[in-house]
Amino acid sequence: MPYVFNTPEDQRAMLDAIGAASIDDLFASIPKSLRFQGELNIPRGLSELELSQHIGELASHNSHTSDKVCFLGGGSYDHFIPAVVDALSSRGEFYTSYTPYQAEVSQGNLQATFEYQTLICQLTGMDVSNASLYDGGSAAVEAVLMSMNITRRPGKVVTAASVHPEYRQILETYLTHLEVELVTVGTPEGQIPLDDLARVVDDRTACVLVQHPNFFGCLEQVEEIANIAHQSGAMLVQSFDPISLGLLKRPGDLGADIAVAEGQSLGNPMAFGGPYLGVMACREDFVRRMPGRIAGETTASGNRRCWVLTLQTREQHIRREKATSNICTNQGLYALRASIYLALMGPQGMREVAELCVRKSNYAAQTLTSGNRYSLAFDTPFFKEFVVRDSNGQIAQMLHDASQSGYFAGISLGQWYPELDDCFLMCVTEQRTKREIDSLARCLVEAGSAKTIHA
């Protein structure tokens, strides 16, 4: 698209064309009494130099992963972003393009979306992916709504305490005004007790929503959970960590009917919590109930390969109240970055990243719990995150001290799980070095106790 100028001459020509003397004249139909008179109560405009200094000063109050060593997880992860992701995704054709209202005009964007969907299907073992949703939490909720629609069971949804607490909050919000019972199975040992689950899943249940690896980093027994759900005619919605699929079985192979994920870890920055990327894929039977857009491949005249937005007849802008969802957009740029990341890594690269995460997080867990103070809260196998119990129990002070020493050591869990208020969640990605892990472990031995000496 060309750059559109707006010079005083252009303005004059446009005003002349419509017979107006000035731009102010265009507002003449608004009575003077309704218009604001006088000066707006805002500071004077800043020069570019002053503005950069001001914004720089504000930004310096943030602490981020480039000045502290990051062991934070819980849905947002400090994975390595290869330079090619920024180089390709920042090309103007992708970076500045907004959804064209006639989507097929933009074949490049549609092809990129189609490639993204293809990669997500390969990654998850599912048949169909949409063009992406807002983030992992809203994707999980959309999947639950979708399952209620498919099973025609609007009355009951089952989830577990080991699903991200913020995803469950979003779910509660969405379900507030529906006549649906939301049952949350407790996970005192860090994973879903199958007997407890089987007791609450019945022939009214639309779906079981699980996260694997779960919020605590622990692995769930997804195949058994799928069996329990399917025996009652319920669907299985699995929220997964895309990086974990370098090692773990794919949701499609575990029996999931809808797979959803937070896609941030695929080449996207943590960015203080967003924007992120909602991944959603499902079995082909359910494609007509899947929210969001789907790019499809077809053949144009002259037998040329081309791309379209497909199944649009069910979308919000066409069917209004009967649409599958009120979601009407996708995260195009972040989906593109995920595609570049996945294409670059390939199956071998994904496996290597996943293996590094497992090895390094296990090393960190062993190192940290080798003394008397810290222990693992659960003895379930984990992927890249684990829950640590501090026998001193001063989690807030301990994390604060660690931060002062240059470490984001983890997330306190008491805010969501009162029974875990002496615990924190720690994450170790492929980016963490042995030296960083060792020095964090040394730091944490003293952190939060009166003896701590601040550097």
């Binding site: 025609r152 007509r288 007849t313 069910r314 066409i318 069917r319 009967k322």
Partner: protein
């Protein structure tokens, strides 16, 4: 079925009423005109057996390459049977909309709605004016 024996709604459903052990049963489908207007059919969704419908309720939807359309039940009653194989053989809906393309059978609980339906001649007139 001969279309001359059927009743039609403004929204292009046809109805055939029979009696079975004292109960009135309505067999419902969509007209040849509707099928032709929709063009290539790609998807059909029918209700579950046992569903209670009131006159004017949506009983299913049919999707073509052009659009998704709802189908409406003209009378009150309970769905007692559906043409379960039809979604997998949409061609038969196109070839024989008044026979093999039937969709649901409803045990009528209130037949007031039948009075609002047209005979074939009136329906054909409506179609020609559309």
């Amino acid at each position: 079925m001969n279309p001359a024996d059927l009743l039609f709604s403004e929204t292009h459903e046809w109805v055939h009423v029979t009696e079975d052990a004292g109960a009135k049963i309505a067999t419902i489908g969509i007209s040849d005109f509707a099928v032709k207007e929709l063009s290539d059919l790609v998807f059909l969704e029918l209700p579950e057996v046992g569903k209670q419908l009131s006159a004017g309720d949506e009983f299913g939807e049919v999707e073509s390459v052009k659009s998704v359309s709802s189908m409406y039940c003209p009378i009150d009653g309970e769905v007692i049977e559906t043409n379960g194989g039809l979604p997998e053989s949409l061609d038969s809906l196109g070839e024989d909309p008044f026979g093999a393309g039937w969709m649901i059978k409803v045990r009528i609980s209130d037949e007031t709605g039948l009075a609002r339906l047209m005979d074939h001649a009136a329906y054909q007139k409506q179609c020609s004016e559309d």
